[in-house]
Amino acid sequence: MAAKNHHLQLAEGAMRVPETQKMGSVKLWCEYAIWGLLFYDDQSPWLTLTECLHICFDRKRRSLPIFEGVKQVEGPQHETVAYGIPLNNQLRHLLFRDKEISRIASGKAADDKAKWSAWFATVDRDYEGLELRNLQASFDNFQAMARSVELLRTSEIEAFTSKRWTSRHVLPLGSAMVFPDVNSDNSLDRKFMRRTGEMLYLMLNRSSRAGEVEALLDARLLGTNSVWNRLAGRLAGPDSDADANTTIGYLPMPTHRSYDRLADDWVALLSLSSIPVENVLDPLERVSGLIQALYILERAQDTVGDGVALPPFFLDVVGATGNNAIRKLSSNQYKRHRTLPFEAAESFIDAFAASEEWKAVLASDAGRKEAADLLAKRFFWSPQRNPNPDTMPSPENQLAELRADSQRAKGHHIGATFHNHVKQIGLLRTARRAGTWYAPNDAFLEALVLANVTTPMEFGDFLDLIMRRYNIVVGPEETRTAFQITSGALPAPLADLKENERRLEERLRVLGFVDRKSDDCAFVVNPFHDVEQTAGTDELVHA
């Protein structure tokens, strides 16, 4: 294949697209150039985290460094990471397809042998060619095997969905507990796991704290062989070694402020040693989703480049029904966020339209053909049309057509990814007839506290911190700052904003994260921050 990726139009400051990058499904190179290939709307933040950990587990298995950073050869060079995921179909079958184990285990057959044979009979009947007799040797009896399966089933993530059995997953607590997203032929069709986790991996890989993240990941997850992983390993069959192999996607910017923020949160969460790692994954998935959502907005803002501050996530914590000022403000912020990606695509094309090469096309006599060629080269955009140049639209019209394509909000696009992700992490609420607005759920609030609080922090400091780190705004003081109001009215009545802030504190208190000392003074506490470290801050005073 000729070096085609080399010619793609790049966002300002972006790295070249490696030739290893598969472009088969790319119909228009615009969104991917700005944000990356790919932030996929049908891939939940949970599966994003899982996919990211696939890469990490694979590198650990092959004794490669988890993160190598960006290589510099005449400027930063995009990573070309190849990785494989064990198919692990036997375990997956036991967990997600088998319907007989529990029935037989609780059935009448008293004899252990009878249970095994009853079960093997159903396997032979229902799944031709599936061989599970190896399991009998791994377990003392059928009951033990059944209990193990039952136990591991409780660790399924997003168990409420009704996905095909080859797209279901358990908590990624070890290399034996990860599965690729394949179809029934074991080919990696990536229906629900399509590179968004690769983006997460690349973001971490390019962060300035990648080394710390690696050390913590290794200590908490990659280098440990947890009981859950051992249990999964015992249920896994001989096919657990067969890999589904792939190479990583494209993330344009060699550095970005959100990469470091992401790494900060990973370090903070993985450092909480007084919470079992299986309980860290939920907040990890949520803050990672939040950072990716912020990344989408910030990249849009960078691309538009008008220097306007990023519109904050204004949360409606009061949760009053009907058309009230707080919900309206929140809902308006969401609407504003949704328009940003479209503006960014517009700006990206504007930049191309202003380029010398495009101007040359416009000036050329053979402009129609040259335009089609150039747009195909730079944007991977070749709509079906008569190859006769004379029947082609004018270059201006071709570009207008491309523009229109880039603004289409149907199917999978970055706006849908943003929407789905902020919803799935528990930041966004949608309700029939009432609309869509930012309203955090409990798990999201828990993730915010766990990722940001170490020693007890005054409630006001916490509000300030989440504004500075995530652009999340709740109370009047932060509203004034984030909306840059120097004089004049706040965007919602002061009393309502105060109530909003009070309700957040109440929510956090009920979750066990607030210790109020008096009318005037409350602390946000992280109950999983090390007891020892808290005592150690005495040293601060001597420092």
Binding site: S155, V227, S273, P276, A443, L511, S518, D520, P527, H542
Partner: protein
């Protein structure tokens, strides 16, 4: 004002829950003493000796914090008067900061109220104050009063200023830490921080009640005609109910003291000034006209003459029911009884006793004595209700309100340990185990009473086991940290990666109830055997709410039905304890096998693990 009016009553009215007393500070009180010509009410300055010792002997700075009404200014004035006699004229002075010579070569700077001094003054003082607190200027000490929020804001603003010294940030963190952990000192700081909101003690409460109830000014009442026959004066009647009798202490007063103690354990601290508000409102409260919520002598005579004791009911007054809701809310002391739900919480036994008069023994216990607010008030309502029944809504409403009043009275009058357990006064509150909580606290404080503490440990273990596992287990011998794999919305589960912790054992970790030395609350923790040491394991601090939750769950309530906050708190406790124990004890056996346990119920309701070894 007629001759028979007692000036003391008018004087006491100035302490009541009325608008003008909002700003009642030390100075106004002294003014009132002059106006009414009665001896002032002396409230104790509980930490005065500590202030003196710290400044004079230890040479450390002092910051007094606490909410409005805790006596911060009062403490400072007392210190000033004692240390600088004859200089009363200089108090309070015009300037926000008072500079004095504490000893030769040692300056004392007093900031009476940090919120009262101007921004420029704050700015000007910051550097010197910081240096003093960091121990860099022993020749200059500070005595500062500020509420905790202001104090933190002062140092936070300083730390956030552009170009702020690193020491500002350290100072902010240190003070935040002291406030949060309720510590009075911290290594490296030349400071004692006294939080007057935390100086609550039963002695203080009694001191204030005594100061009001046994004030010599009551002697003037002897001349009043109502003391000599006729219907009793409601003020004197209410006073008598709070005064300890010859051989029996006042149960009303005792229950108030207990309620305040429970509230304090729930972080609901009542400032000293509010204690005065409470006692005055009980004596003088009048529910006829919310614009005039306190009796004077003339009104009291009127009420007595017409037998309108329904308006002056001291049990309702204790709950602030003579006040408009907004005024009641503004006085946090009444919130104590509101939070207990006194009057609204009840059970079948007590309601049957009130309505039907059965069981008779209990009825007599409540109604034989003190007829004015008991039988006399209630009988007419009961009669009307039985005559007219629920036919007229007005009757039902009035009867319900009368019933509430009687439940309230019963709460304040029932003996601590009545013959029937369901007649415990605490059954008339949300904290049905409030009395047991206080018993446990006493047993822990006295460091005796293993026989008191052990049954509680058992019940708490059972409550925790039920809440964690979601099973109706009776297991109280081992504590099982059951849960799910990973975080789920329903935290209860049947999986455990560590074995159960024995309630009592000498060979391994065990469950232990102790008293937290800082918060003075009971704490349930995991104790290591004597031969082991390890990093501290987080323990579960038992506020009355959490105690109530666990006791109720232990006795059959469903865990999810009572309090989400409690559920979260125990989940946090389970997670961090599991982590600590997993880190401390290598769960692997010699073959490198580790066990996972799925919990189920044995035939006697005990928890039975099915072990999977991996």
């Amino acid at each position: 004002m007629t001759q028979t009016d007692n000036q003391l009553v008018d004087f006491l009215r100035t302490f009541g829950p009325i608008a003008t007393s909002d700003s009642l500070c030390d100075e106004n009180v002294r003014q009132a003493e002059r106006t009414y010509g009665v001896q002032g009410i002396t409230t104790p300055a509980a930490r005065l000796d500590d202030v003196k010792r710290t400044l004079l002997d230890d040479g450390l700075n002092v910051i007094l914090t606490g909410t409005a009404g805790d006596g911060k200014t009062f403490h400072i004035r007392q210190f000033f008067m004692e240390r600088f006699p004859g200089r009363e004229a200089e108090w309070p002075g015009e300037a926000g900061v008072l500079s004095l010579e504490l000893a030769p070569g040692r300056e004392l700077r007093i900031i009476r109220d940090l919120s009262e001094i101007s921004d420029t003054e704050k700015e000007a003082e910051l550097e010197a104050l910081s240096a003093a607190l960091l121990g860099q200027t022993p020749e200059r000490l500070y005595l500062v009063a500020a509420n905790d929020g202001q104090l933190l804001k002062y140092f936070r603003d300083a730390a956030q200023r552009p170009g702020a010294a690193a020491s500002s940030r350290r100072l902010q963190q240190s003070i935040a830490k002291m406030l949060r952990e309720e510590r009075e000192d911290l290594v490296g700081l030349s400071l004692r921080l006294f939080n007057l909101s935390r100086t609550w003690s039963e002695k203080v409460v009694d001191g204030i009640f005594d100061a009001v109830l046994e004030h010599p000014g009551w002697g003037a009442c002897d001349a009043c005609p109502s003391s000599n026959g006729g219907n009793p004066c409601p003020i004197q009647l209410n006073r008598a109910l709070l005064l300890d009798g010859g051989d029996a202490p006042s149960s009303f007063r005792n229950r108030i003291r207990q309620s305040l103690r429970l509230a304090a354990a729930n972080d609901q601290h009542v400032p000293i000034r509010q204690l005065l508000v409470l006692v005055v409102n009980i004596l003088l409260g009048d529910a006829r006209n919310p614009d005039r919520p306190l009796l004077d002598c003339a009104t009291a005579r009127k009420r007595a003459a017409k037998k309108e004791y329904g308006c002056t009911n001291p049990y309702n007054n204790a709950a602030g029911l003579n006040l408009r809701p907004e005024r009641r809310r503004a006085n946090r002391v009444f919130n104590v009884f509101e939070l207990l739900g006194v009057g609204y919480e009840t059970n079948n036994l007590i309601d049957a006793m009130l309505v039907q008069g059965e069981p008779k023994a209990l009825h007599d216990m409540i109604f034989e004595q003190e007829p004015t607010y008991g039988i006399d008030l209630f009988t007419p309502h009961r009669k009307t209700y039985f005559a007219l029944g629920g036919a007229e809504t007005g009757v039902v409403r009035e009867f319900r309100s009368a019933l509430e009043t009687q439940r309230r009275r019963a709460f304040f009058r029932l003996p601590e340990k009545p013959p029937l357990e369901a007649a415990s006064p605490w059954r008339l509150t949300i904290f049905q185990h409030g009395g047991e909580y206080l018993d446990l606290l006493d047993a822990l404080i006295s460091k005796k009473g293993k026989e008191v503490i052990d049954p509680f440990t058992r019940q708490l273990v059972r409550g925790l086991n039920r809440a964690f596992s979601g099973m109706m287990t009776n297991d109280e011998d081992r504590l099982w940290f059951a849960g799910t794999i990973g975080r789920t919305d329903d935290p209860s589960g049947r999986v455990s990666t560590i074995s159960g912790v024995d309630r009592v054992t000498t060979s391994g970790v065990s469950v232990r109830l102790t008293l937290d030395p800082v918060t003075c609350r009971p704490t349930l923790g995991i104790a290591l055997p004597k031969f082991m040491s390890g990093p501290p394991i987080r323990s579960l601090e038992l506020r009355p709410l959490l105690f109530e939750y666990l006791m109720r769950v232990a006795n059959g309530s469903l865990p999810a039905s009572f309090s989400r906050q409690c559920q979260q708190e125990i989940r946090h406790f389970a997670l961090s304890t599991t982590s600590s124990l997993r880190a401390m004890f290598d769960e692997e056996d010699e073959n490198g096998r580790e066990a996972v346990r799925i919990l189920g119920l044995g035939s006697n309701g005990e928890i039975q693990p099915s072990v999977i070894e991996v």
